[in-house]
């Protein structure tokens, strides 16, 4: 078990890892952001506008 000291890959630094670095190191959080943003801002907003188009007289 010569790897026991390898538990935390970041233990070379005692500094805490900044929040933004933790976010960028989390692919699944990024996956969520990358799907939620365009889904809400582009698809949902766009579809709502299309649904709201009035009927011609």
């Amino acid at each position: 078990m010569n790897n026991a000291s390898n538990e935390s890959p970041l233990d070379v630094d005692d500094e805490p890892v900044p929040a933004m670095q933790q976010i960028l190191d989390n692919p699944f959080l990024l996956l969520f952001i990358g799907i939620a943003m365009p889904t809400v801002l582009y698809i949902v907003w766009g579809v709502m506008e299309i649904v709201g188009i009035p009927v011609a007289k």
């Binding site: 890892v17 009927v55 011609a56």
Partner: protein, 181 residues
């Protein structure tokens, strides 16, 4: 360590190089200028695509167009006897896009403003006014209404620039702009 190897430690706190910092500031300023150009043009520019649109049906739009043709027809052109209509300034002008023609032809007066209605009877088409090079998508089921002011007299072409099947390239018509009477 390079872009193919994993960085360790707290890279987030590595100080920015002066080249990068300066460029980010310049580039971001340019991005803001480009962004605000669009709302600016809505207020101070004259070429903005209308937001006015309605849900419609081919029958309804056909009926409105027919009514306009009956009222304002001035002559017929080509072997297909396509009517040419000359509606008065300020009025509603209807233009049908269908496989594979535009109907009817319109004659407008220079410097006057019209409300142009566009809709398709079947598939998607592209209203492309040449040589002015104004290009607008035409949908079936939607009536797009915009005000338009022709500025120069002449004979213009309307071609279809949205692929609409095997005879797409034959879909062309004219728009006449005459000197104000």
């Amino acid at each position: 360590m390079n872009a193919l190897t994993p960085p360790t430690g707290v890279w987030w706190k590595q100080p920015l190089d002066r080249v990068e910092g300066t460029w980010i500031v310049i580039a971001f300023a340019w991005c803001l200028i480009m962004f605000f150009m669009m709302p600016y043009w809505h207020v101070y520019g004259k070429q903005n695509l209308s937001n006015e649109a309605y849900r419609t049906t081919p029958e309804m739009f056909q009926a409105k167009t027919q009514a306009m043709v009956d009222k304002y027809k001035v002559r017929e052109e080509t072997d297909q006897k396509i009517p040419v209509v000359a509606p008065p300034a300020g009025s509603d002008v209807y233009l049908i896009a269908r496989l594979w023609s535009w109907w009817p032809m319109v004659e407008l007066e220079e410097g006057k403003t019209y409300r142009l209605h566009l809709a398709s009877m079947d598939w998607l088409h592209g209203f492309s006014l040449q040589p002015e090079n104004i290009n607008i998508q035409v949908h079936p089921g939607y009536e797009h209404v915009m005000t338009v002011t022709p500025t120069r007299a002449g004979t213009y072409s309307i071609i279809c620039n949205e692929y609409c099947g095997i005879n797409h390239h034959t879909m062309a018509s004219r728009m006449y702009v005459v000197k104000a009477k």
